[in-house]
């Protein structure tokens, strides 16, 4: 394990128990260094999201971890009691989920969501209702919302989730994650459900947040353009196994595994480019980034 790793996954094995049990994640090992972005890529169903859930001990009932160790900031998740694990979630490690519209309880205001997170992690809110949120907690919530770019946090706090756009909700989710001094941020396809303008904004926000707080980010995606823009390291998963991993420039320049090459080729072909073309070059992530990244967001379409 890399000594500076905030997350280390060693030989992780996950098994589905329903019907004939089968291994869905096999011998997966990788690490996320402090202050860096590691991208976990692969096609849908290859086990990326299950790996993320296993890291936080939130596997669905039908899936069981049958082997391997997970260490977050020096704490072995395997050995933690349910209470410690609960404290770790949102305390040391947070996760941003794929679909922001369904990640918020529709009958609770944003303030209720903040109150709940604060109650779980050292706030003074306890069992109070959102109407009587203590001023110290309210200040933390406002500060966190301001940090993710909201000009009027009070309006956001009073809003119901259905009154906000997907991009705004995704930013609220980042703000919720930033309530504690987290060391690890897991982002499970955080831009999949968003339009390109919101995508660009969220990726910038994640990058800025990572720099400011020095946390490690595990970014799960199947968008090679996002990988090219964000990643320091890339882990490629295929059919439940890690087939290749390394620094982003090295991996994009000389992919060794056929699946990694196919993944890059599939992405470039969307833009009429071919992997290995002299015109494109194969030495850096630039062609992938250029092909997929939207341009700067014009001022008039920027959201609050």
């Amino acid at each position: 394990m890399n000594e500076d790793a905030v997350l280390a996954v060693e030989s992780l094995e996950l098994e589905i128990l329903r019907g004939r049990s089968r291994k869905v994640v096999r011998n997966v090992s990788f690490s996320v260094p402090r202050g860096r972005v590691t991208c976990l890529v692969g096609e849908s169903g290859c086990g990326k999201s299950l790996t993320c859930l296993a890291i936080l001990g939130l596997l669905p009932e039908a899936v069981r971890r049958t082997g391997g160790t997970i260490t977050i900031d020096g704490e072995r998740v395997n050995d933690l009691s349910p209470e410690h694990l609960q404290a770790l979630r949102g305390g040391k490690a947070a996760m941003i989920l794929q679909n922001p519209m369904s990640c918020f309880d529709p009958i609770c205001t944003v303030k209720s969501h903040f109150l709940e997170s604060l109650a779980a992690h050292g706030g003074n809110s306890g069992r109070l209702s959102p109407e009587v949120m203590p001023e110290s907690d309210l200040a933390r919530a406002r500060r966190s919302l301001a940090e993710v770019g909201f000009d009027s946090p009070d309006d956001i706090l009073d809003a119901y989730p259905f009154q906000l756009s997907g991009g705004m909700l995704q930013r609220v989710m980042v703000a919720l994650a930033l309530l504690s001094e987290i060391r690890l941020l897991l982002a499970d396809e955080p831009t999949t459900d968003l339009d390109v303008v919101s995508q660009a904004r969220i990726l910038t926000l994640l990058d800025e947040t990572r720099r400011r707080h020095g946390m490690g980010v595990l970014l799960v995606t199947h968008d090679i353009g996002v990988v090219a823009r964000m990643a320091d390291f890339v882990v490629v998963m295929h059919k439940g196994e890690v087939v290749e991993q390394g620094e982003v420039a090295t991996l994009f320049a000389a992919p060794r595994h056929a699946y990694t090459r196919a993944l890059l080729q599939a992405h470039l072909s969307l833009y009429g480019l071919a992997f290995g073309d002299e015109a494109v070059g194969t030495v850096s992530p630039e062609p992938c980034l250029a092909a997929a990244t939207p341009g700067p967001v014009p001022e008039e379409v920027r959201i609050r």
Binding site: L58, R89, M95, S102, F104, E116, A119
Partner: protein, 280 residues
């Protein structure tokens, strides 16, 4: 308030709401609405036609029919309220625990439900009354025993569906504890649907209580209860049919009001329903 406005926007539901509220108010203020004691026997006044003194006449023991009808609402609605409260308490506890915990706990609790579901209400009521004796308490016990398991199964299904929703996962990711998770994110999703079901079932329960009282297994004479009143009047069906008609009408109106109110509540709570919910 939005929900209440949507609920009362339909004419039928508005009528049902007024009917149900009237019955509830009558049950609450029965002693104030009639100066007669419902159990006061006066054989010299028996089987009288409606007069200024006895607006609906008297029964075979000379008791005021209106007073018995008004006080009967208390027995009928009171027993149903106890039954519904007991069923909800039991089924919400069992259903939530089974759905949330899953695994062996779920399997055990669901087999327990299956056992209770095998008893027909009337058979179990007769069995309990045979052992414990006739009376309202045993009727309530029998109805609760035969109905809570239906509710528990439905609640378990709803909890199973809700606990896999992304907002529940997001709350777990944020470090929310299990108790808070159930109380704040799962039960609020279950309650509206269960309340609709309970409202629809109030009429059904009332028929059970009245039916068992009619058979002499429930409320015991001389206590005023609509089923008991029908039973008392059945020998006068040809000579004094109004004695059956009044309590029969009271049962009919109350059951109909709560059924229609339940229908209205279901439509009002359905945000995508064709009948126009509060989400529209």
């Amino acid at each position: 308030m939005t929900l209440l406005r949507t609920l009362l926007s339909g004419r039928t539901t508005r009528l049902a709401f007024v009917g149900a509220c009237t019955v509830l108010l009558v049950a609450l203020f029965a002693p104030l609405l009639s100066s007669w004691d419902p159990d006061d026997i006066d054989l010299s006044q028996k089987l009288q036609a409606p007069t200024r003194e006895h607006l609906l006449g008297t029964d075979h023991l000379g008791r005021d029919v209106l007073a018995r009808l008004l006080h009967g609402a208390r027995a009928s609605l009171g027993s149903v309220a106890v039954i519904v409260a007991a069923i909800l308490l039991l089924s919400l506890s069992v259903g939530s625990v089974a759905g949330y915990a899953g695994g062996m706990v779920d399997a055990f609790l669901m087999r327990l439900c299956d056992t209770f579901l095998t008893f027909p209400t009337f058979i179990l009521a007769m069995f309990l009354i045979g052992i414990l004796g006739a009376g309202m308490t045993n009727v309530i016990l029998a109805i609760v025993c035969t109905h809570w398991a239906w509710y528990a199964r439905i609640i378990r299904g709803l909890v199973l569906s809700l606990k896999t929703r992304e907002h529940v996962l997001a709350a777990r990711v944020a470090g929310t504890g299990q108790f808070r998770l159930v109380m704040r994110h799962i039960l609020p999703g279950v309650l509206p649907q269960i309340l609709v079901l309970a409202t629809l079932d109030i009429g059904h329960m009332m028929l059970h209580v009245s039916g068992l009282s009619f058979l002499g297994l429930g409320v015991q004479p001389p206590t005023a209860e609509w089923g008991v009143m029908i039973n008392d009047a059945r020998q006068y069906i040809w000579t004094q049919p109004q004695l059956l008609f009044y309590p029969g009408l009271a049962i009919f109106v109350t059951v109909m009001a709560f059924n229609l109110l339940g229908d209205g509540l279901r439509d009002a709570l359905d945000p995508v329903g064709e009948t126009g919910g509060w989400g529209k």
